[in-house]
Amino acid sequence: MRIAFLLTKAPISSRDPETCLNFALSFLKKNSSVAIYLLTDGVLCARKGQNPEKGVEKLLKKALELGAEVYARREDLLARGVSAEKMVEKVQNPEDFLGTMVYDVMEKSERVICL
């Protein structure tokens, strides 16, 4: 099974990113395919050097290690001053983020979870 997560919340001020990533890890441990789409304030989850390091950044890296595909919306990254060197490695920022996300939601994933 493939699950798509759409995450629009920033870390720390909301617990939704941790909930999202813990869900994602649970699916990954059950051998599901996982894609995580970070948009609007959700792109801040992809910023490296977060304190506490044990929070969202660690969960995101673990999800990537277990094979999750993580995409961050380029326009939202730029709007928030998150350049490529400030991002967690392996997070992708495709030119057509919305097209990638819509195609995944409609054609590849069996379930969509929005947080």
């Binding site: 759409l6 629009t8 948009l39 609007t40 819509v102 409609m106 929005c114």
Partner: protein
């Protein structure tokens, strides 16, 4: 893509315009899905019904009402919750035989209908994206 054969995507929005990015991401996702040949339905709930108001004139932000109007022109079925709309002063009478409530403050192409339309739309669509904020 033939609309009858196209897969359907339902988008629900809970947040009002201009207070956050959610209303903007809604019409951007809808536009993209239409460009890709999918059918799109939109359900406006809670403060999101303010997005349908006529005469919006934001100075710095995209005009959400105008974007919703353009989406309706492209064939998007946009429904606003009647209870939320009534609470916010948009409903100006009883529903007609099709269940649509009258409003002179609603941009063209948006229908104010019962909340029970939401599960009906969910049943008709292959995928649901909720933008709750």
């Amino acid at each position: 893509v033939d609309v009858c054969l196209a897969k359907k995507l339902l988008l629900t929005l809970w947040r009002g315009p201009y207070a956050s990015q959610y209303a903007d991401i809604l019409w951007q996702i809808a536009d993209k899905a239409l460009d890709m040949g999918y059918h799109v339905d939109i359900f406006l709930y809670m403060d999101a019904v303010h997005g349908m108001k006529t005469l919006q004139e934001p100075k710095k932000f995209p005009n959400v009402g105008e974007h919703l109007k353009q989406l309706a022109k492209r064939g998007v079925n946009i429904v606003a919750c009647s209870r939320c709309s009534t609470a916010r002063g948009y409903v100006e009478g009883e529903a007609n035989e099709k269940g649509v409530y009258p409003s002179s403050q609603c941009v063209e192409g948006i229908r104010i209908m019962s909340l029970y339309q939401l599960p009906e739309l969910a049943k008709q669509n292959e995928r649901l994206i909720t933008l709750t904020g």
